[in-house]
């Protein structure tokens, strides 16, 4: 029987973790602290190393270099069954030969708990499926299997719950519903959740803190709002939502603001939202922050003139415009359909403007294509 009774609690600390497979480096010198009680998401495209990281935390892989601590205990080389950590597997991995009840009781029994009935029933109530206790996993729908997989893990009240693309196999509507439920259950049971996903919307909906991973390293970490409003790299700017990145030069400062030249037109932005290291930079503006006005109408804030509308897509809540700028770049603008009718037509000559505070600046040598080519819908096959 595995001795996890002296369950360690506390923050999870990964210290300088590297994992290589032959020549391939899956995770590269990664350090990370996940505070106790938080809902933490590891977000990134296929092959970014997030699943490998998760498997090292679970004990299914051993890091090549580095250490993993849970509270004060070093768990780097502990076997999976020696860690107070449970996983909700991708595709759930429910035992097909056991009933739902026995699936959930599996961990409790292995830990030598004799009377499991009360615990199992309680967690079945929590996931609202008490009537399925005697069924076999194959008789359950995808959504039900997902909840049982969750129940099977949380019944052990682990110090850490790992979720590996737990909603990947569900359809969109069910996924949205489960996102809300998972969040609720996390608050209800008060466990630390570490969630791995390639779906940025899922991560933003559920997590308190997101670490965006790319090529085995953490690109940026923060709250969903921080990451979205002030991405530090082109990868994050493009992977989390959409961004317009316009090549520019920092001309000087004006108090707390920077003065920036974008193809001959001057704009300003707050100094503390710049990640540029020298004068060369990219100015980033989210499409919904832009406003469009016809030439001659008054504008506020930063203004770029000389645009022409190239394409209009009406998508219900908003309308998306492609605006061709004088330097040949097409920028994207989302306008809310407050009054229901798209007021601009293809070919209109327009000016775009936005509040200076919404601008962020990236390094001038960043790769503006980063994070674009990945298809966030493709399944993670690490």
């Amino acid at each position: 029987m595995a001795d996890v009774s002296s369950a360690t609690h506390g923050d999870l600390r990964l210290t300088r973790i590297t994992k290589t497979y032959g020549d391939f480096t899956a995770v590269n010198d990664l350090s990370l602290t996940i505070p106790e009680g938080s809902f933490f998401a590891l977000l990134g495209p296929s092959g970014c190393g997030k699943t490998t990281t998760l498997r090292m935390i679970a004990g299914l892989e051993e890091p090549t270099v580095g250490s993993i601590h849970l509270g004060a205990t070093d768990i780097t080389t502990k076997r999976p069954y020696q860690r107070p950590i449970n996983t909700v597997f991708q595709n759930y991995a429910l035992f097909p030969h056991l009933t739902i009840f026995e699936n959930i009781a599996f961990g409790l029994r292995r830990r030598g708990i004799k009377d499991v009935t009360a615990d199992v029933n309680k967690v079945l109530d929590l996931v609202e499926l008490p009537h399925l206790a005697q069924r076999k996993p194959t008789q359950l729908s995808g959504g039900q299997q997902q909840r049982i997989a969750l129940a099977r893990a949380i019944v052990n009240r682990p110090a850490l719950l790992l979720l590996d693309e737990p909603l990947g196999a569900l359809d969109l509507k069910l996924r949205r519903q489960m996102q809300i439920e998972l969040k609720w259950i996390q608050r209800e049971v008060g466990l630390t959740f570490v969630h791995v996903t390639h779906d940025q919307e899922e991560a933003m909906t559920m997590a308190d803190t997101i670490a965006v991973m790319n090529e085995g390293e953490i690109e940026q970490m923060g709250s969903p709002a921080d990451l979205y409003d002030n991405p530090g790299t082109a990868f994050v700017a493009n992977f989390l939502g959409q961004s317009n990145l316009i090549k520019g030069r920092i001309e000087g400062t004006d108090g707390d603001n920077l003065v920036v030249d974008l193809f001959g037109q001057k704009i300003s932005m707050p100094k503390n939202r710049s990640h540029a290291v020298d004068k060369s930079m990219y100015a980033g503006i989210r499409p919904e922050k832009f406003r469009i006005s016809l030439v001659g109408t008054p504008t506020r804030g930063n203004t770029l003139t000389g645009g022409r509308i190239e394409d209009v897509s009406y998508i219900g809540v908003s309308t998306q415009y492609q605006v061709l700028m004088p330097w040949g770049q097409e920028v994207m603008v989302f306008e809310q359909n407050d009054d229901g009718v798209p007021p601009f037509d293809k070919g209109d000559e327009v000016v775009i403007s936005w509040e200076p505070n919404f601008t962020f600046a990236l390094r001038g040598d960043d790769d503006v294509e980063a994070g674009l080519e990945v298809n966030p819908e493709e399944l993670d096959e690490e």
Binding site: L60, Y81, R111
Partner: protein, 279 residues
């Protein structure tokens, strides 16, 4: 539902309909012929088990139940059957154990020499039975071991192992490795994981392999003939008595084995279905 025949709906001419039916069902008709081919000798054997034949069971002489009432009536037939069953059971147990262990090693682990291991498993299947039987006999003779019961068991284990490995390996390959990881994640150590998750999930494959091993052993003639010496198994009994006429009791035993096997399979399927239905 009082639909009148509507003249505006184009009808398909009867001849075209027939040829279309034929085209669609050609493969089914073909399958019926295939099964007929498979079952003609089975039905013949079954029918002649009721023949009131006396010694030689060649010509239909009349219906009788005597052969079924007294299956051991012919000399040696039940002794031969007993030998076949004993050898079959022993060969099944040993080949299933050895083969399952090999299947786990090859199916579960990456190790040096894995592909040559696969080759060693494939070779006995690619060797004609007569060569297997003859070469083993030569070896026994070199070591002055007389052919007989145990040499036959050894021969059967040898040719059954490969079939067990292939069958169990296929089952292991279809096993989702995440199930074992999930067990470990849920506090089961390696041994418990094997006992509670891996083994129950591979068990149907092992059972299938054991069944295969038994039927291969029970029906083997060529390899047995080389290594059994004076011992006579059921196929050997049939072969040697073929010249002077096979007693109808042999047909009884063949038919009974057939019915028994069919019943076991049908019962197995029935139980399987009941388990699935009872939600």
């Amino acid at each position: 539902m009082n639909k009148q025949k509507d003249a505006t709906i184009p009808t398909i001419p009867a001849k075209a309909r027939l040829s279309r039916w034929f085209g669609r069902n050609l493969i089914r008709i073909y399958a019926v012929f295939g099964f007929t081919y498979l079952f003609i000798p089975v039905l013949y054997t079954f029918a002649f088990s009721f023949n009131d034949s006396g010694k030689s069971n060649l010509i239909w002489k009349g219906f009788t139940l005597d052969n079924w009432k007294n299956p051991c009536g012919a000399p040696e037939v039940c002794a031969a059957l007993g030998n076949s069953i004993k050898i079959g059971l022993l060969a099944t147990v040993f080949s299933t154990i050895l083969g399952t262990m090999i299947a786990f090693a090859i199916g579960r682990y990456a190790f040096k020499g894995r592909s040559s291991s696969n080759l060693l498993i494939f070779l006995p299947m690619a060797t004609p039975e007569i060569v297997l039987g003859a070469s083993l006999l030569s070896l026994f003779l070199v070591f002055h071991i007389n052919p007989g019961f145990w040499p036959t068991v050894i021969a059967h284990v040898m040719f059954c192992i490969s079939f067990v490995v292939v069958t169990v390996k296929a089952r292991i390959a279809s096993l989702d490795p995440r199930l074992e990881q999930a067990a470990m994640d849920l506090y089961a150590n390696e041994l418990e994981t094997f006992r509670r998750v891996t083994l129950p999930l591979v068990a149907p494959g092992i059972a299938g392999a054991a069944l295969l091993a038994f039927s291969l052993s029970f029906d083997d003639f060529i390899i047995t003939n080389f290594n059994s010496g004076t011992l006579k198994t059921f196929p050997e009994f049939v072969y040697t008595s073929a010249a002077r006429g096979i007693p109808a009791q042999a047909n009884v035993i063949g038919s009974a084995m057939f019915i028994l096997a069919l019943l076991i399979v049908i019962a197995g399927q029935f139980v399987g279905r009941r388990v699935k239905v009872s939600k």
